[in-house]
Every structure is written in C-alpha cells, then in structure tokens.
C-alpha cells in the first residue's frame, strides 16, 4: 500500500513538473481546442479557421477531435489542464455536464472560451465568453429577406428541423416574430423534415398535395439540406422552384450555392464558421485580464442568387 502511494505521489509530482515546464517555458502561448467532430463541411471549416488563425498568431495549438462524444471532450479538457495550457477553446457537444471539468480549469486559472454552443452552469464565471451565432437572429434575417422579396405577401410552407433541437425552436421563433409584422405573410403549413434532404423532400411532396397545397408560394427551411430536398419535390410536382415558389433557407452549404446558381434556391442565410480570429481575440483579451461580454454574436451573411455565382468559387466548404 505504501509503495503504491509513493508511486502515485511520484507520478503526480512528475505531472506537476511536466505542466509547469510547458506552461511557463517560453513566451509562446499554448491553447487547447476541443472540437466536437467533423460531421459537416461547416465544422471542418471552423476547425480550419481556428488552426490557421493560431498559426498566423504564432500560438501553439493542441487540437483534439472528440468524434462526437462528450466523454472524449472531457478527457481532452483534463489533458489540456494537466498539460498546463494557457487557454482552452471548447465547442461543446451538449449543454450539460461540464461543471466539474470547468471548475478544475478555473482553479488552475485557465480561461475557457466557448464556441458554437453554450453550457448550462450555475456559476457563469466558469467560462469567459460564448462565441456563437444566434438562431433567432438567423430566423429573423430569413423572414426579412422573404418579406422584401415577396412584397410582404406569401403563403409559406415551413420545414422545421428536428423537434426540440435548439436550432429548430429558435429559427422558428425568430422567423415567426418577424413575419408577424407583415399581415400578408402566413405560415400555412409547417412540419418537421428532421434537417435531412430525404425528409425535406417527403414533407414537401405531401404538403404540395395536401389541402391548399397549390397556394404555397414560399418555402422557409431551417437548413439547406431540407431545402434541397424540397426543391426536388417541387420540380416533381411540375412547378419551378425559385420562381413559382420562393425558397429561403439557413446554413450556406456548398449544395445551396450550386442550387442558387442554377436558379432553384433563392436565398441562404449563413452563420460564418470562420470564427478563428474572434476566438483568439477573446483568448488574448482574457489573458490580458480585459472585461468581455458573456456573449459574442457571430455575424450572419445573406447570400441570394445575385451574388451566388460570384462567391461560389471562393467557398472553402
């Protein structure tokens, strides 16, 4: 038993020594970045942005891909803390369960910057700031664009995301808030397409054939993939997507740009994934001890057909 304890102590001291070495060895900053995974082009672009920004600023980046598992992220954070990094950037997989590891980071004085998604913690000082898009704002932007395009008159079919997903709830909420200002705009049908192409197509197909399906002259999809599915359904119903039915969606994936160039999609609202510069600005401010807002909203950009052809080649994702 004593031998075991001595061993544990030795290992512990070694880790301590190890981290003090890497932490204060020289002037270069070390930042740990825990990414959820690489499930979409958007995420890959985000990772790339953080990597290249770290390189540009001469910051050493320790990158960990959690392959879509929270436990991997917690493990990565523990490793970062043990290595004594100067700051941590975290793109959390879910909102809950971060309290213990964030407390540990705070105890060691390591600032944590959240990107994409917030965390539920009782003590807000556990993280510096959250850099993310605002889903409500995205929904509002989509509604504003549609109101302008249709002169405030539209019978809208809404393709919702997965029920209870925050992106779906808030994109719906923002859109509804905005169209309430235009009495001529009505959501006449609304169902879930689970954020997928196939379901988007199936739902649109059924909506067009249902009671009053002929009156639909606008589609609002909570993401591009559902819009791309809906475009197929509209074509199969013998209508022209983009002309007979105006389509607006959110995300800005490559397929959406191709559809806009082909004249089938009218508009996509993009939350910029290139948030590397903002993230490292926050890191540097935190290390300098500057005050920062708890929430930094990433700008959204509105792309419509008029500019789609010009930007499509410069798209990184």
């Amino acid at each position: 038993m004593t031998r075991l304890l001595t061993l544990a102590c030795a290992v512990f001291t070694m880790t301590l020594v190890g981290c003090s070495e890497s932490g204060s060895g020289d002037d270069t900053l070390t930042v740990g970045f825990s990414q959820v995974g690489a499930e979409s082009g958007w995420r890959t672009a985000e990772t790339e942005s953080i990597r290249s920004e770290a390189e540009a600023r001469g910051i050493e980046l320790k990158f960990s891909d959690a392959q879509d598992k929270q436990e991997n992220q917690i493990k990565a954070l523990n490793t970062f803390i043990a290595q004594g990094v100067d700051a941590i950037i975290l793109a959390p997989k879910v909102e809950t369960g971060w309290e213990p590891v964030l407390k540990k980071a705070k105890k060691r004085g390591i600032p944590v910057i959240l990107v994409d998604r917030g965390v539920e913690v009782e003590d807000e000082s556990l993280y510096v700031t959250l850099i993310a898009s605002d889903f409500i704002h995205e929904g509002e932007q989509a509604a504003k664009w549609l109101a302008e395009k249709t002169g405030g008159k539209a019978n809208i079919a809404e393709l919702q995301g997965t029920p209870a997903a925050s992106a779906a709830i808030e994109r719906k909420q923002g859109f509804e808030q905005e169209i309430a200002k235009h009495p001529g705009m009505k959501i006449i049908k609304s169902q879930t397409g689970d954020f997928t192409r196939s379901k988007g197509k199936e739902v649109m197909e059924a909506m067009l054939k249902g009671e009053g399906g002929d009156e639909i002259n606008a589609v609002y999809a909570h993401n591009d993939d559902m819009a791309l599915g809906a475009i197929q359904a509209i074509e199969e119903a013998g209508k022209k997507p983009g002309e007979d039915i105006i389509i607006v969606s959110i995300d800005g994936v490559r397929g959406a740009f191709e559809a806009m160039v082909a004249g089938k999609l009218n508009c996509t609202i993009e939350c910029n994934p290139l948030l590397g510069p903002m993230a490292f600005d926050a890191v540097e401010k935190a290390l300098a001890g500057e005050e920062q807002p708890k929430r930094i909203v990433v700008e959204t950009t509105i792309y419509d057909q008029s500019i789609a052809a010009d930007v499509i080649d410069s798209r990184k994702y």
């Binding site: 690489a38 196939s198 197509k201 909506m207 054939k209 249902g210």
Partner: protein, 334 residues
Amino acid sequence: MPEALKKLLWPLAALGVLLLFNTAMNPAFFSITISDGRLTGSLVDVLDRATPVILLALGMTLVIATAGVDLSVGAVMAMAGSLAAMLLVDMQAHLSAVIVLTLGVCALAGLWNGVLVSIVGIQPIVATLILMVAGRGIAQLMTDGQIIPIDSSPGFAFLGGGTFLGLPFTITLAVSAVVLTIVVIRFTALGLFIESVGGNETASRYAGLSVRGVRLSVYTFTGLCAGLAGLIYASDITAADANYAGLYLELDAILAVVLGGTSLMGGRFYLAGSVVGALIIQTLNTTILMTEINGASVPVEYNLVIKALVVFVVCLLQSETVKQMIMRRRAVHD
C-alpha cells in the same frame, strides 16, 4: 380460411381504418392525376416512399423467422449509398457495374452478420449491432462525412425517381422483390426450413437440416435487400447522405414485421403481412404530414406520440391474449 390470410386480416383492417380516416380528414389524399405520363397522388407517394422499408422488411421477416434480428440494415443502406457515390462520382464506373458491386458488397455485409451469428455464435442482436455502428462509420469514412451529390448519372436517378408503366419505378422494384421472394420461399422447401430453424433449432438439426446454411442465407439476403433499399434512397435524393441514410429504419423494418403478424420468437412468418406493415407505417407518416387541424399542420411535437398510439393499438389487436379476453367477455355477456 387459411391461417396466412387470417393473419393478414388485422393489418389490412388497420390500413383500412387509416385510409378511412383520410377520406374524412384529407379528401386530397385520394386524388390521383396524370402529369408527364405518370400517375401522381398521395397514394402513389405512399407506395413509392414505402419501398425502402418494404425491402428491409422482406429480409427482416426471414431473419426474425429464424429467431434472429438484424439491426444493421439502416447502416448497410448508408454504406450502399456511399459506395455507389464513390464508384459513380470518383471513379466514373459504369452504372451496371456500380449496382452489381454495391449489391455484392451489401450481401457480403449480410453474410458477415450471418457468420457472427451462426458460426461464431454471437447473439443476433449483439452481432448485428456491431455492423450497425461500424457500417455507418464506414459509410462516413467513404464520404468524409459529407453529402455527396450524384447528379452525373441519369440511369442512377431512374432507380428511385424514374417512371415505369406510368408509376414510379420503385413500385415495380418493390413488387418484383416481394413476388420473387414469396415465390422462392413459399414454392420451395426454403420457407419450411426457415420456420423449422426458428421453431426448434435442435429438432431441425436432428432432422438433417443445415441450420448454419439457412442462417447464413437469410442474413445474406437481408444485406442484399438493405443494399437495394440504400441505392433507392440515394437515388431518390440524388445524393449519398452517410449521416442520415437509413437512420433508424431498422426499427421501422422490425415494426413492419411485427405489425404484419410475425412473432419475434421466430417460427411462423408472414411476408405479405410485413409488406402491409410497411404500408401502414408509411400511410401513417403521410397522413400526419397531410392532416390539418383548424387549418394548421399537426404540431411536430405530436408526430411521434400519434405514431406510437397507432402502433400500440395495432399491436393490441394482434395480441392473442387481448383477443381471448374480448372473446371471453363476449361469451359472458351472451
């Protein structure tokens, strides 16, 4: 009345009730028009959309009849789409070669399940869980997790979106698959072998039956069905979507089999029942999408609850115990 027909009665009745509900709530459900030389309408859509689950349910029925289960079919569908995309888009392979190769690989995936179950002796639910997890991973690796558009091949788009005999081509595929399976299974001793293995494995072995051979072939067949379903899914959206293709469809397939009257304990199986089961599921999906209450769509939070309720009622109707309880009560009242 032969037993198979009697078994079909309840699922057909459930389907009938769903259709009746639609006559009252959505008259548009039954309107069928001709556009571009193709019948279009919700009824046609139901048949078209049900095709993947019908195909999965065919294989699943046979696997369940041997007292097994195959959880990997949804993942195999994703593999089929991703592989086809890789071959068609990256390698510009010929369409017929792509179809043969994809179906071949999916049949091999099924055979892998069969080997794990019948030779290695792992329980079916665990054995096929391995491929359920790994298969989707493999599909994601093949496409880097991105949606790969497949728009270069009109032939491929025909599989899931073409018109044949004035109907979606998928309906021809589904009908041929169902007829072919029923003929091969019911007009040879194969069906009997499968029921025998599921009913009593030891007795089957003593009777000189190759239990292993039967198991290997049903799992291989299921892989093949899943492969075809995956090709249709990818063709329908002209893209390979490794993240979502066939996601949770293994559950729909199992549900279709159960709704069709086949017991999960193995033994007796009802292919036609499973087809009706798949049609019930899809009719229910389309009904939920089309139904309007006070001029508004069904709130999305209710979708799954409604589905669950209908499935629950149909399962109650299928249950022997419930039937006996009703009979007994009637006898007392008389």
